[in-house]
Amino acid sequence: MTYLTKPALHHPTLQKNKVGYTRRDYEGKISTLCAGCGHDSISAAIIQACWELDIQPHRVAKLSGIGCSSKTPDYFLGASHGFNSVHGRMPSVLTGANLANRELIYLGVSGDGDSASIGIGQFAHIMRRGVNLTYILENNGVYGLTKGQFSATADAGSKSKRGVVNRDAPVDTVSLALQLGASYVARSFSGDKKQLVPLVKGAIAHQGAAFIDIVSPCVAFNNHEGSTKSYDYVREHNDSVNRLDFWPTREAINVEYPEGAVIDVAQHDGSILRLRKTHPEYDPLDRVKALNYIAEHQAKGELVTGLLYIDPDADDLHAHLNTVDTPFNRLGEKELCPGSTALEKLNAALR
């Protein structure tokens, strides 16, 4: 924990992006989380991703629930819209916001307690509805704010700091998201920004429900021997199926790869997700196979990471509801109240 504000001075070579901001401009307030918290690395990854994507900070809305993870939106994108909602209720607030203004970029930031316990119902429905968002789950397997009790994502058999062994089965949020229809599903690790930053970029560019489960060690309560969410354990058991390179357009691609080593996925916004295979047989375009693969490897004690599933033809809540292109919040009285003639016409159609 630090009380000092991060000095405004920066490296002389710090670059500005296309919209005129440096990476530092995407920072927020100084973090009050414990020193070494994985969540701070995730914040740094989001900052990096937004800077690289040339996002205008005021076009982003970041919403969260309650918990250590849900505090983090205060620590990045200080110039963006933010909403710190009720415990586990970020998805419904976000869905409402998205309905009102479909043009913003939505970041839902949540934790394992917020998403897998109190808010698991909300989590299920936002995935099912395909709300266009990037859902970031900062997963440390414990309740940090209440001093380290197991959360619903703690693996069976893992040990708490006090030595208690967890006997309950874990909720696997990645499998859940896959079953519920999320169209971009990834898992990563807070300690591996090389993997994480492109995954965040791909998720933000994705026009549909994008979910990233990020294992984020709790240094205070879950970074010991016997934990399955510690820095050491994750590094030892990390089984990455691919590495993602995010390209804003096909023209921007400037790296050659041997044939057969990559899978290119074009998204609706024109961006290209280029996946470098690290497991040749893994097919991120097949939801069922992905589920099986994850289940098989989970059983072996491996933590499957990478872009696990992508639906290039994804659509979203607004497509399901067939709403107009103009965001609702910009519709005026004229559009919303077409007048008595139009009402009569409508009534006549229903007679």
Partner: protein
């Protein structure tokens, strides 16, 4: 790269850019913190121990520390031209030199803290020739240990060029009297008005060691047509300045040209302006940027309405009936040699010569050494250029009991170099007199101490002030130009001094890394405002420098590299632009980063020094 050996005294010393750049290695951040804490006496004594003349240097030092200061590398670059640029937006170093003056101005009586003149002498007699900064440093370092030091000087008062050449409006006489007095009060025998005119005779007096600190007393002349004819109105800069200092000269004609671009030229023109010169100008051969004068001295001269004209080579003094009428110059331009060596040459442009009218000329085109009083056959070897053969480290001449220092050793430099030479010569003389090998030098003393007080509490102020450099207030020109004795700079007041002191980054509080404690959580990488820290696979330095989170392009600044970590990577930190804010250490969950104050003290002459020189090991306290 191999893991950095932070036990080597030079490693962290180099990180303290100011201290590394200071010839006397003054612990700058240490005294700046003391000033910020209002502990002026302590700040003064830290300076006095290192550089002997804090009040004098705080006004006149050449400040090698300031161009080195990290602050000027980390401040926001000034806005691009064409945009509104707020005043003082340039990236500037901490005003280290003028803070030193603050310590001197605000201290109480510190005489009780000075070493006492020893009651018992050790029987060794040392002669110092010239009472300038080099000799006085030797005297100060040796006298407290019982040496009988005799200082000779041709002038009536001690101080050397400090007293004779630096004008009073930059350095008041009472400051010189005070600080020179501290040294003479250590039981030193000062033989005033006694110019040594024979080395042979002095050697015959049986001194155990002789230190030559006689400076570079001869001003270079300009042998061009008209020099002899108009000699009455052409003066050698340093001689003229000392005549002014001693009150022999108190006026000058209305139109004055100063030839030369060094600090002496700046003193000459500003002095002229105070003695009746109305149309005073400085004319230099080189370009304005290449002038030898310190930038702030040029600025001070121009502030007083003195123009500096460049690329003009003096060709002839014009005169009529023995009276100087002006100087003719050839217009030149700087051309780079075609061989790509980067050498510059001044080439005539072919434009017609320019003539400037004037009544008097001051020639300040350089100084030379002169040793007419050292007999050729007295055993002291000189090289072809007339300079003594002197060991660069021990300052020993070819005659073992003779030492040279200051300008007398290697030609004109400045006060702080003279002080540094004085310290080294004192170490040599002490060792020689105790029958030891002068080439076995003592390593400096190194302290490394954690500054951690609590989870986010340090015993230094780690908040980074964003203030731009504060200007030292000037007394109004209407007063200062009327009286040569009125000091122009007024020094910082205490409140401004505190603000300026807060600009110091505390570069001596080092980031110390422990690879065995690190869990590679990236917290330090994420928090570092300057992107100094990277965890990556090891490689050759040139390659590693390009792979860091921010490129490490300043090759003069080291990379701090750890041993291999658990993931097989290393930690690499670019020292270049680190703010020493300690956020890496505050963010570190395991204490793998710690902020430790590095205090380096040069080992002065004396018994402790001899013991340490024998051990040859740097001592970590």
């Amino acid at each position: 790269m191999k893991p950095t050996d932070i036990g080597a005294p030079d490693y962290f010393h180099k990180v303290v850019d100011c201290q590394w750049a200071c010839p006397a290695h003054t612990p700058v951040p240490e005294y700046i913190r003391l000033i910020a804490a209002g502990r002026y006496d302590d700040a003064y004594m830290v300076n006095w121990n290192s550089n002997v003349f804090p009040g004098i240097l705080g006004r006149t030092c050449d400040r090698p520390c300031e161009p080195a200061c990290r602050r000027s590398r980390v401040e926001e670059a000034p806005p691009e031209q064409g945009k509104d640029s707020p005043a003082g937006a340039a990236r500037e170093p901490v005003a280290i030199c003028r803070l030193k003056r603050v310590a001197a101005d605000n201290k109480d009586d510190i005489r009780a803290r000075l070493p006492a003149a020893p009651k018992k002498k050790n029987g060794k007699r040392i002669a110092c020739i010239g009472a300038g900064p080099a000799s006085l440093t030797v005297a100060r370092d040796l006298a407290p240990h019982g040496y009988h030091v005799v200082v000779y000087d041709g002038d009536a008062k001690a101080g050397g060029m400090i007293r004779s050449q630096i004008p009073r409006f930059r350095l008041p006489e009472e400051v010189i009297d005070e600080e020179v007095g501290y040294i003479l009060g250590l039981g030193i025998e000062f033989r005033a008005g006694k110019r040594v005119d024979s080395m042979k005779a002095l050697l015959a007096e049986g001194y155990d060691a002789i230190f030559v600190g006689s400076g570079a007393p001869r001003g270079r002349d300009l042998d061009i047509p008209g020099r002899k004819e108009a000699a009455k109105h052409i003066h050698i800069g340093i001689d003229w300045l000392s005549s002014v200092s001693f009150g022999h000269i108190d006026k000058i004609a209305k139109r004055v040209i100063v030839l030369g671009g060094g600090n002496t030229a700046m003193d000459c023109c500003r002095t002229s302006k105070r003695l009746g010169g109305e149309d005073v100008k400085v004319i230099v051969r080189s370009g304005f940027e290449e002038m030898k004068a310190s930038p702030w001295e040029k600025e001070d001269a121009m502030h007083e309405g003195i123009p500096i004209l460049n690329y003009l080579v003096p060709k002839e003094f014009t005169h009529r009936k023995g009276k100087l009428t002006g100087v003719t110059f050839e217009k030149v331009a700087a051309k780079f040699d075609a061989d790509g060596s980067g050498r510059r040459r001044l080439v005539p442009t072919g434009e017609p010569d320019r003539h400037f009218e004037c009544d008097e000329v001051l020639v300040a085109v350089g100084q030379e050494n002169a040793f007419p009083w050292i007999e050729k056959d007295c055993g002291i070897a000189f090289d072809q250029s007339g300079m003594p053969t002197v060991d660069k480290v021990t300052l020993q001449a070819s005659l073992p009991r003779v030492f040279f220092g200051g300008d007398a050793a290697f030609g004109p430099k400045n006060i702080i170099w003279a002080v540094a030479h004085g310290h080294e010569a004192a170490v040599s003389i002490d060792k020689l007199c105790q029958g030891e090998d002068v080439s076995k030098r003592p390593p400096p003393m190194v302290h490394l101490m954690s500054q951690k007080m609590g989870i986010h509490e340090w015993s230094y102020d780690n908040e980074i002030a964003l203030d731009r450099r504060y200007k030292v207030p000037w007394r109004d020109a209407s007063q200062t130009l009327k009286n040569i004795k009125i000091e122009v700079e007024m020094g910082f007041d205490r409140a401004t001094a505190w603000k300026e002191a807060e600009r110091c980054l505390n570069c001596d509080v080092q980031t110390v890394f422990s690879n065995t404690l690190c869990i590679e959580c990236d917290a330090c990488v994420d928090i570092c405002p300057m992107d100094c820290i990277t965890f990556t696979v090891n490689g050759e330095e040139a390659n590693l420098r390009t792979r860091l989170n921010a490129p490490a392009r300043n090759l003069a600044q080291d990379l701090y590299v750890s041993a291999t970590l658990k993931t097989g990577r290393i930690m690499a930190k670019d020292e270049d632009v680190c703010l020493h804010c300690g956020l890496c250490a505050e963010r570190c969950p395991t204490g793998a980063w710690d902020m430790q104050k590095f205090l380096l003290e040069m080992t002065p002459a004396g018994p402790g020094c001899r013991v340490r020189a024998a051990k040859k090991e740097p001592e970590l306290v």
